[in-house]
């Protein structure tokens, strides 16, 4: 069960986005910085970004919700991304993903009950000649079979 942490305050958000103010087209770098700092893009970020960049709150919400990477709530302690794209499919990714989700009792984007791992789909890690591929946090893994996946899950505490 996720323990709800207090949402970051407006001044925390402002501190995180400040270094990016001078960039041309700063919103995506700001959103990446927020998610990197807090594990998600909290609702409290929307009015801060809107005010800072002189955008409407709806527009900021529109940008955040467009991109698959940005999370509205924190993920589990680890994020496991399993590639679903064609090259990985050619090497059994569908069966690997189905078995992994079944083993954890999850659907895509689900988090294990102990909060250890969130499983997400990803569409291409550029590891197409050593498929099937996955990424656990920022670490890439290739030629993933049942045994390798079991090790990844065990290390992540799933």
């Amino acid at each position: 069960m996720q323990t709800a942490l207090p949402a970051p305050a407006a001044e925390d958000i402002r501190a995180v986005i400040a270094p990016h103010l001078a960039l041309e087209g700063p919103l995506l770098p700001m959103l990446h910085a927020i998610q990197h700092a807090f594990g998600h893009v909290p609702e409290t970020a929307v009015p801060v970004l809107a005010e800072t960049l002189n955008l409407g709150r709806a527009e900021v919400h529109g940008v955040i919700s467009f991109y698959h990477d940005f999370r509205a709530a924190p993920a589990g302690r680890h994020v496991l991304k399993i590639c679903r794209a064609e090259a990985c499919q050619s090497m059994g990714a569908n069966a690997l993903a189905a078995a992994t989700l079944a083993k954890l009792g999850l659907d895509w984007h689900g988090t294990t009950a102990n909060g250890a791992v969130t499983v997400e789909p990803v569409y291409c890690l550029g590891l197409c000649a050593c498929a099937p591929a996955a990424m656990i946090d920022d670490r890439v893994v290739g030629r993933v079979d049942g045994a390798k996946m079991a090790r990844i899950l065990a290390e992540a505490g799933a």
């Binding site: 087209g25 991109y67 064609e86 890690l125 550029g126 197409c128 000649a129």
Partner: protein, 509 residues
């Protein structure tokens, strides 16, 4: 002793970091002085992690190396050993290539400017600094270079448009959102030879009058982002980037930007919107980005490989590059051989090779050992080609004439266990997930496409002509290639592999 262990993502995904640690630990334990170089990948992924050692006789390779193999390699003095490959460049997969863009990848330390210059780096930029903008663009025109992202638009014409455009501020935007399944050339060059991309962008800047560059990289490539960012810092510190490029008084600098998980942001106008901090919605053209691009200003948007090929064109001359190839497809193309294939990796060669030669001759057929059923060329929006079409020479017009596309030159091999109806369904599903939402044929069509294919799978005969009709609408009515080209994988699967679509129908009857 100089030992190379790649830092390339594919090598890392197969244990290269653990091998590197084992090498250092073993060397320390034995009191052997070792210089560890984390190089790019040589592109022979079935041999990764591929460890190379500098000997008096030259460099010799070993692979695929696991951490537990390391003590044995030291015991053998990195000489005779079951994993010994000899000189990597003499291996058939490597020896048959024509490496122009990828000449340095895997050879040098990607973050050593000295190494870069010792292998021909910056010769092109130095030459370009002595040329007029018009002459720079002419050189690109003469080379015959066409956009390697997939559209194949003549790069020289694009640069000329930006050169002649009026605007106080112009940009070079590098499209490093390599989202196509089966492709990894952009990733490899950013990780293995980042300075070549930097040099190419700087030359482009000189050619069109741009002083700022952006590399828009997909977030799914964290290692490439890290290496590129480090390379930019080094280039800036060494005066290759900044207010005075190589002391010329001419300015060019660049930033690495990161996407956020949207495939459509590989489309140039969607990318520009994303770079501006907006939703990655596709823009109508005209206006062309060359005239109204980033922030409404004249912008060159080019793929990584297009820009990374610029230095060698200036180093060796346009004619040298143009001499390779066939028809209107000049120069070399880095083929990315992927999927269910025995020898997968990066194979740079002149245009003109047949798919049979690529898949069977070089790729060695399937990894599973089962017969090849189809090859998808050009990414998720590319056609599935059956074995009878494997004689098609690799080239832009040559593939177009077969209702196929070469795209970014990724090739994904499938064996006979593949359900082509499932692949067609995935094409529609992927389009629905990644659609920017602006145009109805893509946004709605992709969803209906999944439903229609499910109806076919359920045995509904009327759904097949409906699918074909839907595909025609998506092809003719979509704003960009996401909706517009999804019919390629779908209709090629349907027309070349009708049995996979008929079985469900027959079973229902």
């Amino acid at each position: 002793m100089r030992i190379y262990v790649p830092l390339d993502s594919a090598a890392k995904a197969l244990g290269a970091d653990e091998v590197a640690a084992a090498v250092l630990a073993e060397a320390a334990a034995r009191g052997i002085a070792v210089t560890l170089v984390r190089n790019g990948s040589r592109g022979m992924v079935w041999l990764e992690p591929l460890v190379e050692v500098e000997t008096a006789a030259g460099r010799t390779g070993f692979g695929p190396v696991a951490p537990e193999d390391v003590p044995g390699l030291f015991d053998a003095g990195f000489g005779t050993h079951p994993l010994a490959l000899g000189a990597v460049e003499a291996l058939p997969f490597f020896a048959r290539q024509t490496r122009l863009t990828f000449a340095r990848c895997g050879v040098i330390d990607p973050l050593s400017l000295a190494d870069y210059e010792a292998h021909g780096g910056l010769i092109g930029l130095r030459r370009a600094l002595g040329m007029t903008a018009e002459a720079i663009v002419d050189e690109i025109k003469l080379s015959g270079l066409r956009g390697r992202g997939g559209a194949g638009f003549p790069t020289g014409i694009k640069w000329d448009t930006v050169r002649l455009a009026h605007g106080a501020r112009k940009y070079i935007v590098c499209n490093a959102d390599e989202g196509d399944s089966g492709t990894f050339a952009d990733r490899m060059i950013m990780e293995g030879d980042p300075f070549t991309l930097i040099e190419g962008m700087a030359i482009a800047g000189l050619g069109v009058g741009a002083t700022k560059g952006y590399v828009y990289t997909r977030s799914e490539y964290p290692d490439a982002v890290a290496v590129m960012r480090r390379a930019v810092e080094i280039a800036r510190a060494s005066g290759v980037l900044g207010d005075s490029v190589l002391g010329s008084g001419r300015a060019f600098d660049m930033e690495v930007r990161v996407g956020a998980g949207a495939y459509v942001c590989g489309e140039e106008t969607s990318l520009l919107n994303s770079l501006e901090g907006k939703r990655g919605i596709v823009r109508a053209k005209p206006p062309l980005p060359a005239l109204e691009g980033f922030l409404g200003r004249p912008t060159v948007v080019n793929n990584v490989i297009s820009l990374a090929t610029v230095p060698v064109i200036f180093e060796k001359g346009a004619a040298h590059y143009a001499d390779f190839g066939l028809g209107r497809s000049r120069g070399t193309i880095p083929l990315q051989i992927a999927g269910n294939v025995r020898f997968g990796g990066l194979f740079e060669t002149a245009f003109g090779m047949s798919l049979d030669e690529i898949v069977n001759g070089i790729g060695g057929g399937t990894a599973s050992g089962r017969p090849v059923k189809a090859v998808q060329v050009g990414g998720p929006l590319g056609a599935y080609l059956p074995v009878p079409h494997f004689d098609t020479p690799f080239g832009y017009e040559e593939y177009a004439s077969k209702d196929a596309l070469i795209g970014h030159a990724g090739l994904v091999v499938f064996d006979d266990s593949t359900d082509m109806l499932g692949m067609a369904r995935f094409a529609m599903e992927f389009c629905a997930i990644e659609s920017c939402g602006k145009c109805t044929p893509c946004r709605i069509g992709a969803v209906r496409g999944v439903e229609t294919i499910d109806r076919i799978a359920g045995g509904d005969p009327g759904a097949i002509p409906l699918l074909a009709d839907l595909c025609e609408t998506m092809k003719d009515g979509s704003l960009c290639a996401l909706g517009g080209f999804t019919p390629y994988p779908v209709m090629s699967a349907l027309s070349h592999f009708p049995d996979d679509f008929a079985t469900a129908k027959a079973a229902a009857e």
